[in-house]
Amino acid sequence: MSDIVIATRGLSRCFGDFVAVDNLSMNIPANTVHGFLGPNGSGKTTAIRMMCGLLDPSEGEVEVLGMQVPAQAAIVRRSVGYMTQRFSMYEDMTVEQNLHFLCRIHGLNASERRNRVTEVMAEYRLGDLSSRAAGPLSGGQKRRLALAGAVLTRPKLLILDEPTSEVDPNTRREMWESFFRIAATGTSILVSTHLMDEAERCHALTIMNQGRKVADGTVADLKTSLNATVVIVSGPDVASITPQFNAAEEVLAAAQSGNELRVILHNDVAQPEQFAQGVAGEQYRAALTDATIEDVFVVVTSEGERD
């Protein structure tokens, strides 16, 4: 098997006049946790659905695990675990019944089924909920159940569409730990998110905006190759100086965070600290800082908008 688990080339999908995904080309290497970052409505879910064979592309190609989708989708489905953005298990069935149903659909025999269901219920702390109906479960419990369902058959590739939405921080951390555990067993993961802290944790990212890929690469590469510098301005009343920064042409973005103002400047500003100091004034202090994925995201998505 090649070491690329998902490859798309010129992938596009239109709904009427609306272009949901526009000429997307990306490669996702095996054995990584690959993040699919983008604001709501940036085409992540549509792209994922095309990778799963649930939607046909308007143009372009998708190859998953070395097989053409949608042509070979039926075979691909056996090796791909898919967690939908909207909870899609049967709400009127219990946790255990849902998991058994998925096992049966995948053709596991009775003893495999019992073992595997017991195993994933223990792993995702569903044991106490086993005989509860799925419908009334909390957001976090539903997500854990959906994840358990997606990994039941030990798929080679796991596609997770915003798996941590409506989830409390503890469950979120717990889920991300399990993603890395799963990845360590040789399963590749594509996980979509719009949360920056989650994006930071991925091995690599593809950033989407308005249906287009605006950046991709490893998290470190994305930060170092950023065409901007980040300056933190601190002082008595940063809110009052924010308009000055936003008005300046050299400034890509300025956002307040507590008593600090995080300013992203064009790379062509020769002396960023001095420039920021100049805009802010005497009583403020400006200092260079490392770029975060959020900075990358802000820069690449604003570039996309200027096209």
């Binding site: 659905r49 989708a73 909207r86 009127d92 659909i105 053709g107 109906a133």
Partner: protein
């Protein structure tokens, strides 16, 4: 092949679990046949009896009293009120208090012996209910000879009518087999009409089509539980029909069961077709009603098929229920053999295959 069977079984068991959890649907499976059979079995009655009428007896003689008595002996009418003048009777009918007014003139006895053949009395009938009106109209030919008992009368008329089946003309014998068709059409089509569109609406379809399950496996797995339910309903209706309405099957039980099974499949196929085409559950219900009403009105359940206009008959021929009613009435009432009903059964079988085929074509393993 084995894997395919396993997946069908998986869908089948899932449907059973969901049915078990869904108390309302589960109750409907048993309660709908019960209620409909009780309600319609007792109320759908084409034998008109004991129609309450208002009487104006202007004669008030023993002759007029015997006339009234003999009329009541037909059991069609029952004198519910005595009024003084004809106008009052007409008004009572207009007001809807009574279905008819019987006006007996003072000279009824003279009219009887007059050679001119004058009518003896007048029956003012509320014609707004045609079934009742035609029964009352038939009273015009009521033979009356004073001094005799009606039952001793020799049959008068030009045609001797012999009834081959259902000689007592009991409506239940006609209604109960018909109800079998109505109840199966209603429950089977309705349950499957929402079966697939519900999964779409609740978002389960996205999970389901991302699994290796194939459309045919999904559909067969979904149909089989309802097939079992349909046959349970058939048993309930036939047993109750026998106990409560004394409807006995004169023909072959095996043939009847087989025919019901074919009909159940025809309805399940139609339900699936609706379910793959409907935009949502509400739309599915609307499409179901659109189909269900003509099934009741045109199939011969309510009105005689042969008496309908040609166009209505053509329409009715497309409905599975029309064919099923022919089959089931034939078997239950006339002991019709397989050869006599095979044409209609073939239609039902073909209808199932066609609807299943169209459902498969309409069901794409896609979200759009």
């Amino acid at each position: 092949m084995l894997a395919s069977l396993k997946r069908m079984l998986a869908v089948f068991m899932k449907e059973i679990i969901q049915l078990k959890n869904d108390r309302l649907t589960f109750a409907m499976v048993v309660v709908i046949p019960l209620i409909q059979l009780l309600l319609f079995g007792y109320t759908i009655n084409t034998d008109v009896r004991d129609v309450p009428i208002a009487l104006v007896d202007e004669a008030g003689t023993s002759f007029s009293r015997q006339f009234i008595h003999d009329l009541e002996a037909t059991q069609v009418i029952r004198v519910a009120a005595q009024l003084a003048v004809p106008d009052e009777a007409a008004q009572a009918v207009t007001d809807g208090d009574y279905s008819a007014g019987l006006i007996i003139p003072a000279d009824i006895e003279r009219r009887f012996y007059a050679e001119a053949g004058e009518p003896l009395a007048q029956l003012v009938v509320d014609g707004s209910d045609t079934v009742m009106a035609s029964a009352l109209k038939a009273l015009a030919g009521f033979p009356f000879s004073p001094g005799e008992v009606v039952a001793n009368q020799a049959r008068q008329g030009t045609l001797a009518v012999t009834l081959l089946y259902n000689p007592e003309q009991r409506a239940a014998l006609f209604t109960v087999p018909g109800l079998l068709g109505v109840i199966l059409t209603m429950t089977m089509t309705m349950f499957t009409a929402i079966a697939i569109v519900r999964e779409r609406e609740r978002g389960n379809m996205e999970l389901l089509i991302a699994t290796p399950v194939k459309p045919l496996e999904l559909m067969v797995g979904k149909l089989v539980p309802y097939m079992v339910i349909g046959m349970v309903q058939v048993a309930i209706i036939l047993l109750l029909g026998h106990w409560l309405f004394d409807v006995t099957v004169v023909g072959s039980y095996l043939l009847l069961a087989f025919s019901c099974l074919v009909f159940v499949f025809a309805n399940l196929g139609l339900g699936l077709l609706i379910s793959t085409r409907a935009p949502n559950q509400l739309g599915a219900m609307q499409m179901f009603i659109f189909f269900f009403l003509p099934s009741i009105l045109l199939s011969g359940f309510m009105f005689p098929f042969v008496a309908m206009p040609q166009v209505a008959q053509w329409l009715a021929e497309v409905l599975p229920m029309t064919h099923f009613l022919r089959v089931v009435r034939g078997i239950v009432l006339r002991d019709a053999p397989l050869t006599a009903v095979s044409g209609d059964l073939l239609f039902l079988g073909g209808f199932f295959l066609l609807t299943l085929g169209l459902s498969l074509l309409g069901f794409r393993q896609k979200l759009d």
